[in-house]
Amino acid sequence: MIGVKNSQHKAELKGTQSSMAAMRDQIEKSLHVHRKKNVPFVIPDKKYIFTGIPGFDQMLEKGIPLGASVVVAGGAGSGKTILTLQVLNYHALRGEKCLYMSFEESEDRLIQHMEDFGWNPRKLIKEGNLLIRRFNPFDITRSVDALLMKAKGELLIDVKPIIFPEDFHPSIIAVDSLTAIDSAFAGKEDSYRIYIEQLFRFFEEIGATSFLITETKQMPTIFSTSGVEEFLADAVVVLYNMKRGNIRERAIEILKLRGAAHDRKIVAMNVTGAGVEIFPEQEVFGDMKD
C-alpha cells in the first residue's frame, strides 16, 4: 500500500511540477521571451471589430465601431508599427482585405518584422488578403495640388487622396505614418490639413476601418502633428514609453473612442516574441514625465 501511495504521490508531484513549469513559461513569455500563440477567434457584433491584440479587446465594451478611424500615437520604439501590423495580421487571417500603407519602411522590411513574430505575411499576401505597399509622401503633395485645383474649379476630374491598387478593396487600412506625410508638406501646413480631412472623409466613404500612426514624444501630451488628426479621428490610442530609473516600461491608453464604451486607464503593454500583449489590470509605475 505504501508503494501505491508513493507512486500516487510521485505522479501528483510530477503533475504539480509540470503545471508550475507551464506557469513559469507563461510568465516568461508575457515578459519577454519568444512564443507562438493562437489568436482567439472571436465573432464580434457585426457593427464592431476586434483588434485581436491579447488584452486590448478586453478594454473595449463591444469593440471598435466598424469604419472608425483610429489614430495610433506614440514615440519611437513604443510599438505602433507592431501593434498595427498585428491588427492587420489578425484580420487578414480571417479573410478580410487589409492594406498597409507605408510611407517610411520598405515592404520587405515590414514583411520581415511580421515574420520575426512568427506570423506568415507571405501566405496572406499570396491569398490576396494582405497588401503591403510603400508610398512616396511627395506623391501625396502632388495629389493635394490637384485637389486644390479641383476645389478652385481648375481641374474637372475626380481626385482621390489615395490611389489603391486596382481590384483591391480593403476593409482595414493602416497608414504608417501621418507624420511622414506631414513632413512632405513642410511649409504647407494648410495643404496638409486639407489632405488629412480628405483622407478621413475618403476612408469613411469606402467604409474601411483605418489605423493611422502618428509619431509623438515618448510621453505625449499632443497626439498628432497638426492636432487636426486627433480631432477628426473616431478613436485615439496612445502608446507610452515611460522611464523608471534606467529602464523603460511600455503602456497603452484608449484616450478616445467615439460611439463605444472603453476602459479609461493607462495600463501595461509588452512586446513579446509573439507581438503586442496588453495587461488591462496592470497599472504602470513608470514616470509620467518625458
Binding site: 508531484l13 504539480t16 511540477q17 509540470s18 503545471s19 508550475m20 513549469a21 506557469m23 513559469r24 507563461q26 510568465i27 516568461e28 508575457s30 515578459l31 523608471r244 530609473g245 534606467n246 529602464i247 516600461e249 503602456a251 501595461a268 509588452n270 495587461f279 489590470e281 496592470q282 497599472e283 504602470v284 509605475f285 513608470g286
Partner: protein, 180 residues
Amino acid sequence: MSNLIKELSTISRDMRVLLIIPRELHEDIHMGLLGHFLETHQGSKGAYVTLNRPYKAILSAMKKRNLDSSRVFFIDCVTGTKERADNCVFLRTPESLTQIGISLDPIFKNSDFSFVMLDSLDALSIYHNSNMVIRFARNIIERSVEHKHSGIMIGVREDMDRRIIDELEAVCDKVIDLTK
C-alpha cells in the same frame, strides 16, 4: 512566535493582510506564514514574491521545516535572470514594478492559485519612493480582491515609511503588528 501563531489563527482564507514585523526572527516568521497558508489553502497553490531573499534560500528554509515547495510559485527579484527553475520566474531587478505586476497576472487569473505573499514592502522602499510602493501594493490588493485571492504583504516596521503602513491599513482586511 507564539504571538504570530495566535494572530495567524484569525486570518481566514479570503483576506488581505498587512504584516508588520521586527527585524529579528525574519526567517521564522516567513516560514510560519508560508506554513499557515499551505495548511489553510489545502489543494491549491500560492505565489511568493521575494525582494530580499533569493529563491534558493527560501527553498532550503522550507525544506528544513518540511514545507511543500511544489505548491508555491516564486517571483524572484533578487537572484538575477541567469538562474532557471520550474516553479520560479527570475526578474532582472525589483525596479520594474510593472514587470512584477505582469508576472502576477496569470497567477491571479489561474483558479489553482489562491494566495499571494509579497516579501517585502521595506525592500521595495529601497528602490521606490513611498508613493510608488503604496500604489503598487494597492494594485496588488485590488487584484487579489477581484480574483478572490488571499494577499499578505510583509514589512519591517523600522525600514518602512509610516505613510505606507497608514495607507495600507485602510485597504487591508487585517493588520498584524508583531512589533508591539
